[in-house]
């Protein structure tokens, strides 16, 4: 449908105002919120995500598109609830204890939101206790952990052990990442997924749910 394509394009160009306008038009045309979301907004983010992965656009472009996406979903929110549509998944994300690195986590968050995930960001330097509490409260499908130092990556294991202790390990998939982290390390500590970089994080998350 032409209007959904237009929404997708407006997202890709980061035109928040156009997105708002077009989403309202689409609703007036009687298109379901679900369809506007999937074939318009998320289609646009998906295509931009591919271009990002192919080094055709930069992070600021994706962030601006993500803002436009928010503008669109804002308008759809009520209707989505009415239609009973849920986000494709919920992710709790954090940089582990002792580690103040923010940017890598934020890039992953950006890519996850662009892929339609609801993301709860706990920030940096987050202890296992705070993470456990958040998992209990938010009930996410995925817990995403970041660490940038060789001396904090081990705290990803600490979190996984704490999840087991709290009988939460079966309830949530854990994905890990960060400069010193490898697939082998992820396997060793019993994580469910490993993302090499922000660009692949969304794919990994999608594969986990």
């Amino acid at each position: 449908m032409k209007i959904l394509e237009d929404i997708s394009l407006a997202i890709q160009k980061g035109k928040a105002r156009d997105v708002k306008q077009l989403v309202m038009e689409a609703l007036e045309m009687g298109i379901t919120a679900q369809e506007i979301l999937d074939k318009g907004l998320l289609d646009g983010m998906g295509k931009l995500g591919v271009r990002f992965k192919n080094n055709e656009v930069y992070v600021p472009e994706v962030l601006i598109a993500a803002r436009a996406l928010n503008n669109g979903t804002e308008i759809l929110r009520e209707r989505l609830v009415e239609e009973g549509v849920k986000p494709i998944g919920k992710v709790v994300i954090a940089t582990v204890k002792g580690d103040l690195h923010d940017i890598g986590k934020n890039l992953v968050k950006m890519m996850l939101e662009g892929a339609g995930f609801e993301v709860v960001d706990l920030g940096t330097d987050v202890s296992e206790d705070e993470i456990i509490k958040a998992v209990q409260q938010e009930n996410p499908q995925i817990l995403a952990l970041s660490a940038l130092l060789t001396t904090t990556m081990t705290n990803q294991k600490v979190v996984i052990d704490a999840l087991k202790e709290a009988n939460l390990r079966e309830k949530v998939k854990v994905m890990v990442g960060g400069a010193p982290v490898t697939q082998a390390f992820a396997d060793e500590i019993g994580a469910d997924g490993y993302a090499e970089d922000a660009a692949t994080a969304a794919e990994v998350a999608r594969s986990l749910i």
Binding site: Y58, V59, I103, L149, T150, T151
Partner: protein
């Protein structure tokens, strides 16, 4: 009161070369940095492990093994001298006695080798700047601030020769600037917040230096400009943005010298080349041999005016040849041998230019490190009076040089870089003249900034 540099120390490109600085730094053991020899500066970090009271003996064993390995290799390769940098990890700044103990361990081994085998070694202590995160009370008081100063003083007393830091004043704001490639916010973070913090912090470090005899060396904008560089390298942000941030970061890093730092500027700040041009103090640089810590587009050009040559950081893990820090050390030692040999034969300018020319065509981040470009930009930069004006001018000068190099076929730029170059230049041209007006226009948009922590 801070001394503001109004002219460049170097006026002649022929004098601006590796291994020699107009104001060399003489260490306690007689080593002269910038006195005619390029020395390796080795950096290292722990392998994957936690740092706690329980693991402290293992931590110490690691530092002991690393230092012994390096000293042994220095002896084997007859290295004329070297610097070992200890960058403390966050828990070691939070518990200053840990950082000081690590420092003592490294210092003692180096002094032992010096006594036994006449291998000249020096230690640079770089406390991790822990003034970040939710628990921070204030930038210039409270436990975070106290711990940093305590680490400096304790390490200086225990024998560290050089004091350095990668300070984080303005970083919370710059992290946002980098993600959105917001050049105004970048200038605000570096030349307003960063400069303000640097003045406070370095006044203290210089004081500790006077008290202890350790040299207040320098402060790199690693968390700013290197973050941009690494993101640019992953193609996450445009290279022209990262190149401009690099030049703007010089304005910030210069502040340490305005309040009395003496060099050598720390390795991971490529803006050091501007610091050297303006102040005449020696600098440490890192290039291809630092690929272990981060890939880059400035592998060769980085050495052109270096006085120390560094590997940035490598974990203490085993490679086939032996432990990784020893491997890096050997690589640095050979790089330095070559450069020093050319110094002896009078070919150092030629070798400098071969290094520069081999990289500068391929990347704007490399281009703005060309010795000739550095000197030209520096001469213009120092004409601006305030940090803010310098910040703006730094960005504009970077953009101008990049644009004209591209037009003259001296620099290749992707199509998509060009539109960013235009937009970014325009943004900077339109920034207000007045500082207060500038601050007002930017600050509201700074989500992570808590102005009270900066007394603003």
């Amino acid at each position: 009161m801070a001394h503001v540099f109004k002219t460049t120390a170097y006026t002649n490109l022929e004098d601006f070369v590796y291994g020699k600085a107009l104001k060399p730094v003489v260490l306690k053991n007689g080593m002269v940095i910038g006195g005619g020899v390029l020395y390796p500066e080795i950096n290292f970090t722990l392998p994957p492990m936690l740092i706690t009271k329980e693991t402290m003996s293992d931590v110490m064993r690691n530092y002991r093994d690393i230092t012994t390995g390096i000293c042994e290799r220095a002896k084997e390769l007859e290295v004329p001298g070297f610097v070992a940098e200890i960058e403390t990890l966050p828990p070691m700044t939070e518990n200053p006695q840990w950082g000081i103990e690590v420092c003592k361990t490294v210092v003692d081994i180096i002094k032992e080798y010096e006594a036994k085998y006449k291998i000249k070694g020096a230690v640079r202590i770089t406390p991790n700047d822990i003034r970040e995160g939710k628990e921070l009370e204030h930038m210039w008081r409270g436990r975070h601030w106290d711990s940093i100063l305590e680490t400096f003083e304790g390490c200086a007393m225990t024998g560290a020769d050089l004091m350095a830091i990668e300070s984080v004043g303005g970083k919370e704001t710059h992290d946002e600037a980098v993600m959105y490639c917001d050049i105004s916010k970048s200038i605000f973070a570096l030349s307003v917040l960063g400069a303000k913090d640097m003045e406070k912090l370095w006044t203290e470090i210089v004081r500790i230096g006077e008290k202890t005899g350790a040299v207040a060396s320098g402060d790199t904008a690693c968390g700013f400009a290197n973050t941009a560089m690494v993101l640019a390298d992953k193609n996450y942000i445009p290279k022209v943005f990262a190149a401009a941030v690099r030049v703007v970061s010089a304005v910030r890093s210069l502040v340490a010298f305005e309040v009395g730092a003496k060099g050598p500027h720390k390795d991971c700040g490529y803006e050091g080349v501007y610091v050297k041009a303006i102040t005449g103090t020696p600098i440490s640089m890192e290039g291809k041999t630092a690929a272990c810590a981060h890939l880059s587009h400035v592998g060769n050009i980085a050495v052109c005016v270096a006085d120390l040559w560094s590997n940035e950081s490598i974990q203490n893990i085993k490679l086939l040849a032996g432990m990784a820090p020893v491997v890096s050390f050997e690589q640095l030692a050979y790089d330095c041998r070559l450069m020093n040999r050319a110094m002896e034969t009078g070919d150092s300018l030629l070798l400098r230019d071969l290094h520069a020319d081999s990289d500068s065509y391929y990347d704007p981040q490399a281009y703005v490190l060309r010795p000739d470009v550095v000197l030209e930009i520096s001469k213009e930069l120092v004409k601006a009076e305030t940090h803010y004006e310098r910040g703006k001018r730094a960005a504009l000068l970077a953009f101008e040089h990049i644009r004209s190099a591209h037009e003259n076929g001296k620099l290749r730029l992707d199509e998509r870089e060009l539109s960013w170059l235009d937009n970014l230049s325009e943004t900077v041209e339109n920034l207000p003249e007045d500082l207060e007006e500038f601050i007002d226009s930017v600050m509201d948009d700074c989500e992570n900034l808590d102005p009270e922590k900066y007394d603003m």
